[in-house]
Amino acid sequence: MELINTIWFLYLTSAVCFVAGLHFMNNPKTARKGNFISMFGMLLACLVACWQTSLNNKANFDKFSFLVLFLGIGLGAATGASLAKQVKMTQMPQLVSLFNMVGGGAAAIIALNDFYGLKQINLITIIASFLGIIIGSITFTGSFIASAKLHGKIPSGVIDFAGRIVIIIILIVAILISLTSINSENLIHISWLIAGFSAIIGILFTLAIGGADMPVVISVLNAFTGLAVAMSGFIIYNPVMVIAGAIVGSAGCILSILMSRAMNRKLIKIMLGGFGQKAGDNSNSSILSQNIRTTTADDLALRLAYANDVIIIPGFGLAQAGAAGEIAQLDNELTKKGVNVKYAIHPVAGRMPGHMNILLAEANINYDKMLELEAANTAFPLADIALVVGANDVTNPAARKSGSAISGMPILNVDQAKDITVIKRGSGLGFAGIENLLYSDEKTTMLYGDAKKALSETVESLSEL
């Protein structure tokens, strides 16, 4: 009895480490320390779990099961470490999604596995087990699809077909029917059946979600994984799993809501899918080209050199072109000439919230220069030049008027700057499929071309000035 108290207390300590770790992450200066604290908590929890298992097993110690366990842990750790080392920062979302997949998968397996050795059955444990299986399986396949879409293994657009929602509803009904027909003999078979149904739901629900909505989905799946882990914790009465799972669950929910709010979308609509470009549909090349003025890299360089305050608005196009390094060079050149450079970052720039900050930080740009939405909007009227690189819908003043697809979406008020240049790959429409009024603004000039090339040309002519 004494020992179990000690074990419980140690689990509590590691849960405290997780909370403290997340708390320290709300400031860039302490964030790394936070990550270490959280890491320590995780190590502690795993060591305590090993200790607890060896206590439980004292009577008949099964060496083989420990061998299998540690072989799995060793291989998994090596795989995780090499993935984390090799991945490019633009590929971050895929990796997070991949870790959601394995986390959800492991939670589902524990829930399935525990039916084999379940000694005392009570209602809450049964509910928790099935929720663990269902949520875990949905996360497993859903995250796999999300990851594959982001990685371009399957088309990233909307893959929808008539009756998709109907099939999902049928599967949900099938799960409910299976649940009512449980008895102590078919428990294990039914649990596998339900895992299968849930896995198909996971696939169907992620397939129909378009590339630009994917960050929100990843965040939701992150929350799902947390919940699945918490449910598994319920089955084996483990406090640290319940606490950590619940925290990740609620944190993921809030992040998802914040993100969908920043995109002016309802979370529930995003989850239902079908918004945005259909896969393989590239017919986004219609734009009213009236009143659009173009410019050259040399002209842009000249105007930038004689400005006092420049605000750069980076968007996903920048990340796609891999041009963060060129932005940093431009920043250096301009700073040398005494120009004050800032970055206006929309909450959903990049592929995940805060993703753009990471990409810029990787290119050695100081995070003090990165303005969030509100700070940026107070800075625009004072800016001499606003340079938009690969951002579209988040700069569209149409959002402030009613009657358009993005009405009410919080945007960067780029049009309030004194002079505006937009670097853009082509004259296509943005994700929302509407014309950007900014482009036909009389203060705006367009520089068409690949962001990387356009920026390096600008830097070149800037250094010659």
């Binding site: 995780g80 971050m92 925290i247």
Partner: protein
């Protein structure tokens, strides 16, 4: 009062803590935060380790192996990538203070 009531209480309170801790974080840090939360759900490995005590039959061993692989990958990969990201933020502050 049974242990399950205690666990349910913990669960509800932890949800509220998660809400409080995350709600105030600036969007600059949302990606590292998501990654941090992402590594925390690797705590599922604790469950895997504990389940390894009651193994019966080959299917059980296979399941535990896969789950252990998944859990460890989640933990190590998650923390490593978070650290890599946060390190980029930290270096900049140092450079500036020089």
């Amino acid at each position: 009062m049974t242990i399950i009531t205690v666990i349910l209480t913990i669960f509800i309170l932890a949800i509220l803590i998660g809400y409080e801790v995350i709600g105030k974080v600036p969007s600059t840090l949302h990606t590292p935060l998501m990654s941090g939360a992402n590594s925390i759900h690797g705590v599922v490995l604790v469950g895997v380790i504990l389940s390894a005590s009651a193994l019966e039959g080959p299917l059980n061993y296979i399941l535990i192996f896969i789950a252990a692989f998944f859990g460890a990958m989640n933990i190590v990969g998650g923390y490593a990538i978070s650290d890599r990201m946060l390190n980029m933020f930290k270096n900049k502050t140092k450079d500036e203070s020089k």
